[in-house]
Amino acid sequence: MSRSAKFVLAIMLGTTLLALPAVTAAKQKLAKANVEHPAPPSPTKLGLGRAALPQEIEAWDTDVRADGVGLPKGKGTAQQGDAIFQEKCAACHGEFGQGVGRYPVLAGGLGTLKADRPDKTVGSYWPDATTAFDYIQRAMPFGNARSLSPDEVYALVAYILSMSDVIKDPDFELNEKNLATIKMPNANGFYEDDREVAEKQFWKSNPCMKDCRPAPKVTGRAMSVDVTPDSKTGPSVD
């Protein structure tokens, strides 16, 4: 009660501040015109939209956060996930998460992040296991999203983590209480954007304009790589 009262006050203050110049101008105008009725006060809120009902929030508020907030009740093992994965996921991701065509590789790649061609998989790169739950639940299987039960999603996450040896026991039960405690191999591999410090040499007061470098030589050409789509194969506009 007091919090919402404070909020209303803050909104009123904000509105008052924003409206101040207009009100002043309006007052001047009123004074000049000598009109009896003052302008109506600005509403504190627009009054648009309606309250979201609990069942509506429940239907849409299915996201899962890194700390596990939002995880639904449920459970599943890698063993159970294997069967679901082969049926619903392997066509794109391969039986062992190795990827088919250009669909994402899900497993392997541990220790390759400094390599010339790193493999960024769930096991090698993703910092949080909860992210796999959130993503599978919202977007997978590709083309039939939101069709999996929480138990199926727990089982699939367990299977995917087992392919990268994050979960070693095929009967280990993953559930809403332990998923956020799973320690991912690359959990500490991230840091906040530091470009403004680490790249401060890119802020220059006087970039060179004359005789800035020796004569350049061509060292690489897109034409020799030859992967540019032929313009004649573009989509038709008829």
Binding site: S4, I11, L46, L48, G49, R50, A52, E56, I57, W60, D61, D63, R65, A66, D67, V69, C92, R102, Y103, L113, P118, V122, Y125, D128, T130, T131, D134, Y135, R138, A139, F142, A145, F190, Y191, E192, D193, R195, A198, E199, F202, W203, K204, P207, M209, D211, C212, R213, P214, P216, V218, T219, G220, R221, V225, V227, T228, P229, S231, G234, P235
Partner: protein
């Protein structure tokens, strides 16, 4: 039915006219040999100058001229597994000014294009708010709105070029960008309706598409300049750009601009979604990765000449391109014709707006010699667009995102232009 004979009659007349022209064309070489060839496009009456053209309503929603049929978005099919989770590219080499036509704004979908009747669309605000709310499109259209021109650049724009010159055309190297005027409601207005709890620090934006796209957005940005937009370039959003409602996050990477926006949740920390951990984090040479790299650095590209728009004439030419910065306005653009040895300031023409493209020009004479053209953007924070070498020295080549290095086009003696790396 009744107009069919007329149409056939007109077509027949056009056919005869075309045949006549072909005959005239066959005579051209002889005329040319005479040294004083008159131009039949002038001396002969042309079809379009004689016969009636289409009446009004023949094209009730207009399309570009059929002679511009090659000015289209194009994809690079080997980039992705399939078209539903893919990207195509804006044909920058064929455009001018700063506004991208709505039908040419590059597309990036993660679960295909959601086709939503605005009457069926809902926007929910929940989480750390005093009152969770649901808005219809009618509600949103009754709110105070603003008009702003902003660029939208995918963080992976130029990402295929980290290891070297790979794609031969600025459509492909730099075409994951567009710049339009958005009409929408400041997100702050919507949040004020719901009332944020004091501990709200982040928002999660979620799309209604089959990918359920979700991203975390710091509240400070949300309250600063973020819009919830329903129109672009004066018309409703295009379906491929999030119709009926999308987020507009000025100066920040395109992935945050959630399309088909259906829900905003307030929380006290970021969600660490798939898009902000496994994607859109920048892998550095030491094997660690930068996260929350939201801002798009200052960048520019010469659109003409470029591989899809070679030089065709000696003498007077117009070099042109675009520049932008996610940190503010573009203060200056420099251009070199000799691969970075000597630079000159380009002429910026048209509006210079916050977090918007600017258009620059250098009018020059070309005597047919080889050129190595580059452009270098400088923004109002003093940031100078780096060379690719400078960038790779810090970032290595595995970061995928945020490649804003200076681009080199080699204009060969015949005018053919190619994407090259220089050392």
């Amino acid at each position: 039915m009744s107009d069919r004979p007329t149409a056939e009659f007109l077509n027949r007349r056009r056919f005869l006219g075309a045949a006549g022209l072909a005959g005239a064309g066959a005579m051209l070489p002889q005329l040319a040999q005479a040294g004083d060839a008159s131009d039949p496009k002038i001396t002969e009456v042309q079809d379009w100058n004689r016969y009636l053209g289409d009446g009004v309503d023949k094209r009730p929603y207009g399309l570009p001229s059929k002679f511009e049929k090659d000015v289209i978005r194009r994809d690079v099919s080997w980039l992705t597994a399939g078209p539903e989770s893919s990207v195509n590219f804006t044909p920058l080499h064929a455009l001018d000014g700063i506004i991208t036509p709505s039908g040419l704004c590059f597309e990036r979908h993660h679960g295909g294009l959601a086709e939503i009747d605005p009457a069926d669309h809902r926007l929910m605000i929940n989480g750390l708010v005093d009152k969770p709310l649901v808005f219809t499109m009618d509600d949103i259209r009754r709110m105070p709105r603003v008009n702003k021109v902003y660029f939208l650049e995918c963080a992976a724009n130029s990402g295929m070029e980290w290891r070297g010159a790979q794609l031969n055309g600025c459509q492909f190297t730099h075409g994951m960008i567009h710049n339009v005027m958005y009409t929408g409601v400041p997100l702050k207005v919507l949040l004020d309706e719901a009332g944020l709890k004091p501990n709200a620090k982040w928002l999660m934006l979620e799309g209604a598409d089959a990918a359920g796209m979700n991203r975390s957005l710091p509240l400070s940005k949300a309250l600063d300049d973020v819009l919830i937009a329903f129109a672009m370039n004066g018309e409703a959003l295009r379906p491929e750009q999030g119709y009926p409602l999308r987020a507009v996050i000025p100066g920040w990477q395109g992935n945050l601009w959630v399309k088909w926006l259906r829900r905003i949740e307030a929380g006290d920390q970021p969600w660490q979604t798939r898009e902000e951990t496994s994607k859109y984090t920048d892998l550095m040479p030491d094997g660690r990765a930068r996260k929350h790299t939201f801002v798009m650095d200052a960048k520019s590209v010469i659109t003409n000449p470029s591989p899809q728009a070679p030089l065709k004439h000696q003498g007077r030419n117009v070099l042109t391109g675009i520049a932008w910065s996610g940190r503010g306005t573009v203060k200056r653009v420099d251009v070199t014709l000799d691969g970075g040895r000597n630079w000159q300031e380009a002429r910026i023409d048209g509006p210079v707006l916050d977090k918007s493209l600017v258009r620059f020009y250098v009018d020059f004479d070309w005597n047919g010699q080889e050129l190595m053209v580059q452009s270098r953007a400088i923004d109002d924070t003093g940031y100078v667009q780096p060379t690719k070498t400078e960038l790779r020295k810090i970032r290595g080549v595995n970061s995928i995102y945020h490649n804003n290095g200076i681009q080199t086009w080699l204009v060969r003696a015949g005018g053919e232009t190619e994407n090259v790396e220089i050392g």
